[in-house]
Structures are given as structure tokens and as C-alpha cells.
Symmetry: C2
Subunit: 340 residues, 2 copies
DNA sequence: CTGAAAGCGCTTACAG
DNA sequence: CTGAAAGCGCTTACAG
């Protein structure tokens, strides 16, 4: 064979003295092949370094064996966890993962179908906020294009979902802070286009209400889920006389940002200020002090969302909803309220 | 058309009253189509939501339009930069990116060809340490499989490379620390299977020698390019009476780890200890104090490596070597040597 | 248990 | 400027 020329099913069939159909059967673990024939074919194939051509298989089967992972780009840690989870499920499968980072899900919503079509994807995993974008969902449904959603909050009827209870998680963290004696607690919200942002405010508010505390609107600062936005929002909350004694940021990147703001302002954490995050991404263990956070099972959600997508593509039944448990992880960035 | 059924070239040809060959010409910007015919075809195609099927194109052209990005998993920041660079070059192209993270390049070296073949990749971008793995290079060469390398240090003859001068960069950082008055400088080495690790030690040693300083072997601690290994190595260097006044870690993740070790030991940075990193990855701006580092153009290297790979695949000439400039970025983690 | 034929949706190489 | 034929490397649907 010439340099770079791959053996084909015809080469194997010829050398093994069988039809191409038999070779096909062997490589697809189809029944009705004598053990001896199978062995012989396998041996010849190995000698020829034969591997079935996925592209040809794809053309016949009208599929590409390509799965898309669609995400905006909030934090590298989150993205890498997402990829790891999806890849973990795909390991050993014929399917491969195409990464589809976009600047803004909203900006490409209109072109989502042409986009997935021209990339020849078989299906797509949607992450927040795309998993709740009405245009994206509508277009995909119209086209009958297979998709699954991670952490959506709307339209529960349209297909499998992987969620974690944002409201309960945010409530748990807030209760934890209240339990440490905090009464003035600030929150840094995430990107307003992510429905999780509102859910986490809801949990926050519920815990405050249950403890008889008022929700002061000026103690809620707007962030974007990025580190930089956390620095900014942190400064805004801290640069005043009646500053909060604790800040609960809606993800770890923003919590790290708030921590940076505190450092820059010379405020000791946790002695003078408690900071809590959300996600349990790598960043929470990298900054000092290490950040108390909610472990959100991003890896697990991505893994089981991918599993559900494969089930759809292969016509297997799949659970419509998986609710992944969260856990509160107390670390060094939170402590009892400072003496007044 | 039924749900999910895509229009094909035949559908467009029929409705536009031309041959499929003409439709093909239009979508490939081939010459010899009357402007009027072209317009008509385009209009009909748009009405049918037609997109050429890449899988079919791939079968005919004996290619998949799939590029693999092969990497070990040292730091999320590095990985995301790599992906961003490659994706940036691929934007608007027919090619798509497959991510191929592996636990250890060495462990899969033997199976690299079957691996890329069964994933049906057209070519692959190799990152350290795979870009210097002799088995991987040999197998790929034998098979005539297209690849480009990021930051290799060996076998300059075997194809396009994108490098940055590790020796000079490490030397520059060391000279900077010496300029601040440091005389006892520790180094945290990266994974020994990465040739860059040795190159950076070389630059470190050269700067020390030029300043008439001895290279104390016990001031070189072994790390793995991970945050955790940096914590460990940092502790090892700091937990002694004659500890160094500065630590130069071979990447930012390990520098952040050393910083964590210093925090845990109650050593103030930079007042009591200077810490420098390498890469200028996101982590360097996220920890406190922000880390002085070498900006390594990972994004640019990935981008131009991908560009070179496309050139190979499309038989265009491409530069055999691109040397990307580094820059030293002084931030808050380094300062003058503490008074003895 | 095995195989010959047809076809997946395109492009390449010719012909006009 | 346009098109009919052949073929890329497989699998599906039949036939034996």
C-alpha cells in the first residue's frame, strides 16, 4: 500500500477470501459468522492495519458519529469539567466530541440549525444559558434535531434534562452563613441571561426570609460569572461603611474575584469578611484562603447528558430527568461574624 | 420533507432544473457557472435549507475535515488557550476540531495511528510532551499521517513547528530576580517528560552562572505542572531554615501552588518571599498577590500550528518554523530581597 | 452461515 | 457554460 493509503473493506475481503459483507459482519459483531471465519478475517484485517472508515459508515447510516458540546465561555474550569464529563461517556464509543464555544448563545440562536447541519452533528448537548434560550429550543425542535439540556429551568416537557437544585443549594449556603452569625449578607449575581442566576437569588431570599432577615436590594451586585466581574462587584459591595460581613457569589470565579477585591482593600478573609462561592471548580482550591462553596456536579451532569443523547440517537429509552445532588463544602473563606 | 430529513444535492438540482454537478459547482465556488444560474441555484437551496453533506464530501475527497488536538491535561487554563487558538484558526473553515485529552501521552504512544485512523482525523496538532515523544513521532511518520508540533525541542527536521525560546525566557526571568537582589533562588521544575522542563532549568542555570551564583541542587524541587505538585514542591523548598528568598516555578499553576504553601506557612509574598511563574495563564491574575510571569503565546502557537496543518492538508506551502516571542510580565508576587 | 446488488450524497474525470 | 457516468467505502435489504 502506498504511503498514507488505508486498507479498505475490499482489501480485507479479497485477502481473506470472503465477501465484503462478511467482513462487515465481523466488524459489527453481527451474528451468523462462523467462529473460524471471524478469526481469519480479524487476523487478515490486523495484518492490513484495517479500521472501518467512519466516514463511509456515516454516509450509509446517515450520521456522522459527531456530538457537539455547545457552551458560552464563562470559566475555563467549568468548560474543562463539562468536556471531561462528556468525553468520559464517549470513551470507547464510535462517537467523537466537537467543541462549540460561542461568545454568546443569544447571538447565534437564529443560526443554530444551519450551524449544526453544516458541522454534520448527530446531536448536541446544550449548556446554560443556551439550554433555556427560547429561539434555540424552538429551532431545534422544528428541525427535529436531537439535543439534551444541562441545567435548564424552563420547558420541562421537551426532552431529557440534567439538573441540580439551584434554589435548594443557594438556600443551604445562605443558611450556613446565617448559622455563622452573619446578618448582613451580600450576593453577587451571575449573568442575568442564565436562569440559574434568578434561582440562586430565590434560594438566598428564602433563607433570609426564614431567618426573619430583610433582603436589601443594594446588597445584590450584578456580575457576569467571570472573575473580573467578581472583582468589580466585590468592590462595589465592600467600598462602603455599612459593608456586608459575608458575600455569597453565584460561582467560584466571581467569589475569587470578590476575594481579590477584599485583598486589594486590605480586608482580611475570613476574619473581617466571609466569602462563599458556587460550583466547586478548581479555582476554589487555588486561591487563598480556599473558598467555601457548593459542589455542583458539572462532570456528572455532562456525563449523563451525553449518555442520554446517545440513548436518543440509538433509540434506547432514557430517563427524562436526572436530578444531581449538590453538597456544601466548607473551607477557609468563611467564618463567624466579626465582632462589631 | 419529513421531520429531520435533510435536503440533498439531488433535491436542489431537481427543483432548480439543473444537474447535480451544477449545484456542486455553485457550492464549491467553481468557475463556469452563469451568474444567473448560480443565483437561481442559491435561491432554491436556501428555500430547501440545503447544506452540503460534509460526510459525503469527505467520503469522495478521502478526508473527514476533522482536526485532532492532542494534549495531556496539565492545567485547564493552558488547555482552554490551546483550544481557543486552534478554534480561532478553524473559524469559517469546513474543518472541525476534535479534542483528544489523554492521561499520559507516553501510555498511548503505541496506539497513536490506530487511534487517529479510527477517529478518521485528517491531521493532528501535537502538544508537549507528545510533540517530543519518539514513539509517537515515529509511528506518525511511518504512516505518513499529517501532523504539526507545538513547542518541540527535538527532531527539527520532521515538519512544521511552533516554538518559543524556553531557555531565553527562563534566563530572562532569573536575571530579573537577580536584579531584585535575590541570591538564593529556588526553582520548581515541571514534569520531567516535558523537554521544556530541562530547557527552563538550562536558562535558569545560565543566568545564575553569568551572575557568578552557584546552582544548588537542593534548591531545585520536582513538580508535575499541576497546582498540587506546586504546593508540595513549595513546602519542600520553604520548610527549612535556609530557605530561598525567591522561587521560580516553571508554570503558573505550580507558582500558585507555591504561593499557597507560603500562605499556609504564614510567609508574606512578596515581602518575605518572591514567587515567579511561567505561561501567563489566567491563574496568574486570579491569585493574590498576582503572579509575575513569562507570557508564553499559547493561543498564538495553537493558532499558527493549526494554520500550518491546514496548509499541509491543502498542499499549500507553510513556514517550517515559527518562533513566537515571549514577554516578562512583572506583577505583585515579586519584590526586592528581604533584609537579612 | 454467506454473498451480490443497490444506494448513502457527494466530487472527479470526461464529454459536449 | 453544463451534464451523465463512475466511484468514494461502507451498510441495508434480499436471496440463497
Amino acid at each position: 500500500m502506498e504511503r498514507g493509503r488505508r486498507a479498505t473493506i475490499v482489501d480485507v475481503a479479497r485477502e481473506a477470501n470472503v465477501s465484503i459483507k462478511t467482513v462487515s459482519r465481523v466488524f459489527n459483531d453481527a451474528p451468523n459468522v462462523r467462529a473460524k471465519t471471524r478469526e481469519h478475517v480479524l487476523k487478515v484485517a490486523a495484518g492490513l492495519h484495517y479500521h472501518p472508515n467512519v466516514v463511509a459508515q456515516g454516509l450509509v447510516g446517515r450520521r456522522s458519529y459527531l456530538i457537539g458540546l455547545f457552551y458560552e465561555n464563562p470559566s475555563p474550569n467549568y468548560v474543562v469539567e463539562l468536556q471531561r464529563g462528556a468525553l468520559d461517556r464517549l470513551y470507547g464509543e464510535r462517537y467523537r466530541l466537537i467543541v462549540l464555544p460561542v461568545e454568546s448563545a443569544g447571538a447565534v440562536a437564529d443560526k443554530i440549525v444551519p450551524f449544526v447541519r453544516s458541522a454534520a452533528l448527530d446531536g448536541i448537548v446544550l449548556t446554560p444559558p443556551a439550554s433555556d434560550n427560547p429561539t434555540i429550543l424552538e429551532r431545534l425542535e422544528e428541525a427535529g434535531f436531537p439535543f439534551v439540556r444541562i441545567a435548564p429551568t424552563t420547558r420541562p416537557e421537551i426532552g431529557p434534562r440534567d439538573i441540580t437544585d439551584d434554589v435548594a443549594a443557594a438556600r443551604a449556603m445562605t443558611e450556613y452563613l446565617i448559622g455563622l452569625g452573619h446578618r448582613r449578607i451580600g450576593m453577587i449575581k451571575g449573568d442575568p441571561t442564565h436562569p440559574s442566576s434568578d434561582a440562586r437569588v430565590e434560594g438566598f431570599a428564602a433563607a433570609l426570609a426564614a431567618a426573619g432577615l430583610a433582603l436589601a436590594p443594594d446588597l445584590i451586585a450584578q456580575g457576569q460569572f467571570t472573575f473580573e466581574s467578581g472583582v468589580e462587584a466585590g468592590r462595589q459591595l465592600l467600598d462602603r461603611a455599612d459593608r456586608p460581613t459575608a458575600i455569597f457569589a453565584q460561582n467560584d470565579d466571581m467569589a475569587a474575584g470578590a476575594l481579590m477585591a477584599a485583598h486589594d482593600l486590605g480586608i482580611a478573609v475570613p476574619a473581617g469578611l466571609s466569602i462563599a462561592g458556587f460550583d466547586d471548580s478548581a479555582i476554589a482550591r487555588i486561591v487563598w484562603p480556599r473558598i467555601t462553596t457548593i459542589h455542583q456536579p458539572v462532570f456528572d451532569m455532562a456525563r449523563s447528558a451525553t449518555d442520554q443523547l446517545l440513548a436518543i440517537l440509538e433509540d434506547r429509552p432514557c430517563p427524562p430527568l436526572i436530578d444531581h445532588p449538590f453538597t456544601l463544602i466548607a473551607r477557609q473563606s468563611t467564618g463567624t461574624v466579626p465582632e462589631a
